[in-house]
């Protein structure tokens, strides 16, 4: 399994043609026709899947994956095919990137839908209206400190006249294409065989964030594309052979680091971490081979890059966004607490696929996918070990760093068992899969090359590899994204993606038309999403230090906590929004207000109707709006304690 990928590129490599035996245009036309037909069939199947889901018919999962695999399997074949030409391979990867954006595009082509999308769309919209960065966001507090994505979207919308959503789609599609190309180029920095780059891009696309999470209007979607290219710039700096070239590549890396840091906190931290891993691996390599002056220089450049990135991140998080630490810490802290509780046999865990509508085969695939990844990584480690003496030093150091990065995927899969860690675990996979992709790709090509020597094994090996990739694609997405995020359907109470009912949208529109923008209000999570985005208001759902949900929790006749009333009054809250479905149904995602709310989740509605209609009897609340489920009250704190006859 040493193949052509191990050492210097001295021989003829795939994609570089000699002689006139091949007819590239015929091959390209054949590929284009095949993939265009596959893309059309795949798109039709995706539309069918979404239509079936929308009408509540069965089969949406099968149609969806049929649509995806119809295109991705032949595209993967063309991308790693030995005889594919240079430009054909590039074209296939570009087509692959575009097609894999289609599931998310079809999910919500006309406006925001996911929880974070409402926040980022609202933030971009505010910049278009006011021209100001760093405005506070009511839905996700910290995103105001990271305006990179919003500035990009708002600038494009402002300059071109596109709507905010259209500009966002353009930015997101570009970022998605750049992710695919970036992974291929990143792998190409280590191994000259272009098939490895293509295979790395395909393997990376199997991660659970690729189809739905990192394609949403969220800051990570842009930041991760920049991160990958920053890593390419970092490797180019390490490999550069003159001081001037090294300085220029490091300068580009730092500019990209600033852009990443201004866009997304976690991605910036991952960039610093990955560069540090690279520097550590180079250091270890240079200690082992002290005579290699080139590696010593590469080590210094790697440390300079990592340090520069760390300084950028530290300065931003100290000066611009000091609250980032307090925003991120509870997720990790609580996850570790819950994990140690689980390890000790305590409760606090979560049951995977509890009440999920995902079919059995998707659920099984979700459990098998990490096993497949482990198998591939084991093979990659063996390949790395065999090549450790032949591989060029920087390649060896960088592949070591990528192995370590990829290995982080496995402990993170355990955190998925904890309620607080699940989110962080999912989010880490987009980064750790970068390591998996870069080190598993040479293994795949080595296996294909080895099998190619015997006709009897070439087809089964190819089919087995494609089947494994398909299984990982299905399983990772099943594990990483809730079906209600992946498929449309009828309105469901307590679902981020199905919260935008006509009634809530109308209430948000009425509030904006009659009361203007940016009024502070208390709401549940789902009403808050709509009111904070389309309604252009500033909702709060409460927190441990500002338990606004205690308004709802108070029993009729029981006084509202004075401290809470003082907070509401002094912070000039104007409205209270009540969704009476909280007394009738359990939220689809088991959250009423926020993740760590002190509200029982025992399968029954956590509120009684009396708790939610008690506001009709309180003279300090004016009932401005009422619908079948949603009521909007205005606070009149001056009337606190006044007696009144009757109720509104």
């Amino acid at each position: 399994m040493t193949a052509t990928t191990a050492g210097p590129a001295t021989g003829r490599l795939p994609g570089r043609r000699t002689g006139s035996a091949r007819r590239p245009w015929i091959e390209a036309a054949g590929c284009a026709l095949t993939l265009a037909a596959a893309a059309a069939a795949g798109a039709a199947a995706l539309v069918t899947a979404y239509r079936r889901a929308e009408w509540g018919e069965s089969g949406q999962f099968a149609w969806f994956w049929a649509g995806m695999l119809i295109f991705t399997v032949p595209a993967a074949f063309w991308a790693v095919r030995r005889t594919s030409g240079t430009h054909l391979r590039l074209a296939v990867l570009v087509g692959y990137a575009f097609f894999t954006y289609l599931p998310k595009l079809l999910r919500n082509p006309t406006g925001p839908l996911y929880h974070d999308e409402y926040a980022h769309w609202g933030q971009s919209h505010d910049i278009v209206l006011d021209g100001l960065l760093f405005q506070q966001n009511a839905i996700v507090r910290v995103i105001g400190d990271y305006p990179g994505l919003h500035a990009t979207v708002a600038s494009l919308a402002t300059l071109t006249g596109l709507t905010v959503w259209q500009a966002a789609l353009l930015v997101l599609v570009l970022a998605h294409v750049l992710v695919v190309l970036g992974v291929a180029v990143l792998a190409g920095q280590l191994w000259p065989d272009p098939r490895i780059g293509a295979a790395a891009a395909i393997v990376y696309s199997l991660n659970s964030s690729f189809l739905f999470f990192d394609t949403q209007l969220g800051y990570e979607s842009l930041a991760i594309a920049v991160l990958i290219w920053a890593l390419v710039a970092g490797l180019r700096a390490i490999r550069a052979t003159t001081a001037g070239a090294r300085a220029r590549w490091v300068a580009l890396l730092l500019v990209l680091a600033v852009a990443i840091t201004a866009t997304h906190h976690l991605t910036a931290l991952w960039l610093t971490g990955i560069l540090s891993l690279l520097a550590l691996a180079c250091t270890a390599g240079s200690i082992r081979s002290r005579s290699d002056r080139g590696l010593a220089v590469a080590t210094r450049v790697a440390w300079a890059s990592a340090s520069g990135s760390a300084v950028v991140v530290a300065v931003w998080m100290t000066v611009v966004s000091p609250r980032t630490g307090t925003y991120l810490e509870p997720y990790l802290g609580r996850a570790l607490d819950q994990f140690s509780g689980l390890a000790g046999g305590g409760s606090g865990g979560r049951t995977l696929f509890s009440q999920s509508i995902a079919p059995w085969w998707e659920q099984k695939a979700a459990f098998v996918a990490p096993g497949c990844a482990l198998l591939f990584m084991t093979g990659a480690v063996i390949l790395w070990w065999r090549r450790r003496h032949h591989a060029e030093p920087v390649t060896r150091a960088a592949s070591t760093a990528m192995l370590l990065l990829g290995a982080m995927y496995f402990p993170a899969t355990l955190l998925i068992l904890t309620p607080s860690g699940a989110e962080g675990a999912r989010r880490s996979w987009a980064f750790s899969y970068l390591g998996i992709a870069v080190v598993v790709a040479p293994l795949i090509i080595a296996l294909l090359d080895r099998a190619r020597r015997r006709i009897a094994t070439s087809v089964p090996v190819g089919v087995a590899l494609l089947a494994s990739c398909a299984l990982m694609l299905v399983g990772n997405n099943a594990a990483g994204m809730n079906p209600s995020y992946r498929f449309p359907g009828p309105p469901v109470f307590g679902s981020d993606t199905r919260a935008a009912t006509p009634e809530v949208l109308a209430a948000a529109a009425w509030l904006r038309e009659t009361q203007g923008r940016e009024a502070r209000l208390v709401a549940d999570r789902y009403s808050g999403l709509i009111l904070g985005s389309y309604g252009e208001q500033e909702p709060t759902t409460g927190s441990a230090t500002f338990p606004a949900y205690d308004l709802y929790r108070a029993q009729p006749g029981e006084p509202i906590p004075a401290a809470l009333l003082h907070q509401l009054r002094s912070w000039r809250f104007e409205f209270l929004v009540v969704d009476r479905r909280m007394a009738e149904q359990v939220p689809d995602i088991k959250i009423y207000f926020e993740t760590n709310e002190p509200i029982p989740h025992d399968g029954k509605p956590a509120f009684t109707r009396a708790q939610l209609t008690k506001f009709d009897h309180l003279p300090w609340l004016i009932k401005m709006y009422d619908g079948p489920h949603i009521a909007i009250y205005r606070f009149d704190f001056d009337s606190l304690g006044r007696p009144a006859r009757g109720s509104v």
Binding site: A9, F98, P147, A507, G627
Partner: protein, 285 residues
């Protein structure tokens, strides 16, 4: 070539302002300007051959694309630091400054470094990534093939995706749940405190909205202090928002706060009121 790229960036940015509000003109101009700025950034760093021996010619496109893309937030951040708003004119000015600086950077790099600074002699035997790039300079044909390798699949994807989105959006959808709502309207939307009702009474505008429901006849009720004062049938047509007025009679001048509730069917809106000529602050109500 550098001067040409700077001029292309200037032209693209200059065209954006007069094309304001016409995305089909402004968008291509903006994208051309950003690609030119990205290419300038790439040339300032790596020179004209950034592929560096790679057999997948994606590095140039990728670096130029990413550099062009991050130009927007970086210019916006610079504008913020300078106290300027993120508006078309300041953004265009920022883009012009970026293109000029990068053009100057390319000039400096070309002037003060060897023609191929990242490819020194004496690197024979190194792997492709570290060795000299012996691939031919990207000629017009090579550039055209690379451009075609990006543009053709992009166009095919846009066509296929466009048809798919259109088919999805235009297909019949299940009916959304309907609703009937009632809300304060007109001057009543500004009620922030108990209302003082004059002796001649008070007219309160109310908006009744029906969406996704059939025409329905229901009852409009006025309750004051918990007592029904008026109850009339009202017909709410399907998919309409109609404004109606409810007259509140004079309230007893006893200073008591009374709830005023206006309901249409099960939905109600309301506020608190007392007589304008009452005795404020009476305790026993």
């Amino acid at each position: 070539m550098t001067v040409l790229l700077v001029l292309v960036a200037y032209a693209g940015l200059a065209g954006v302002l007069p094309a304001a509000g016409r995305p089909w003109i402004a968008l291509p101009l903006c994208l051309i300007a950003l690609v030119a700025v990205g290419e300038l950034a790439l040339r300032a760093v790596a020179g004209p051959r950034p592929e560096n021996g790679a057999r997948l010619p994606a590095a140039r496109i990728g670096f130029a694309g990413i550099a062009g893309l991050v130009t927007l937030p970086l210019v916006a951040l610079a504008l913020h630091a300078a106290g300027a708003p993120v508006r078309p004119a300041p953004l265009v000015a920022g883009g012009v400054v970026a293109a000029t600086l990068l053009g100057a950077g390319v000039h400096v790099r070309e002037r003060f470094t060897r023609s191929d600074p990242d490819q020194p002699v004496g690197t024979a035997g190194l792997p492709a990534q570290r060795g000299p790039d012996r691939s031919p300079r990207p000629g017009l044909a090579g550039t055209a093939r690379t451009a075609a390798a990006v543009i053709v699949p992009a166009l095919l994807a846009i066509v296929a995706g466009g048809f798919a989105v259109r088919a999805y959006l235009t297909a019949p959808r299940p009916a959304q749940p309907g609703y009937l709502s009632v809300a304060l309207a007109g001057w009543a939307t500004t009620i922030e405190h108990p209302v003082a009702v004059p002796a001649r009474g008070l007219t309160v505008p109310v908006r009744v909205t029906s969406s996704g429901l059939a025409t329905v006849t229901t009852v409009l009720r006025l309750r004051v202090g918990g007592q029904v004062l008026r109850s009339v049938p009202v017909t709410v047509a399907a998919n309409t928002a109609q404004q109606t007025s409810v007259r509140i009679p004079a309230l007893p001048a006893d200073g008591c706060l009374r709830a005023v509730s206006i309901s249409v069917g099960r939905m109600s809106t309301g506020f608190y009121a007392r007589a304008a000529a009452g005795v404020p602050g009476r305790a026993a109500c």
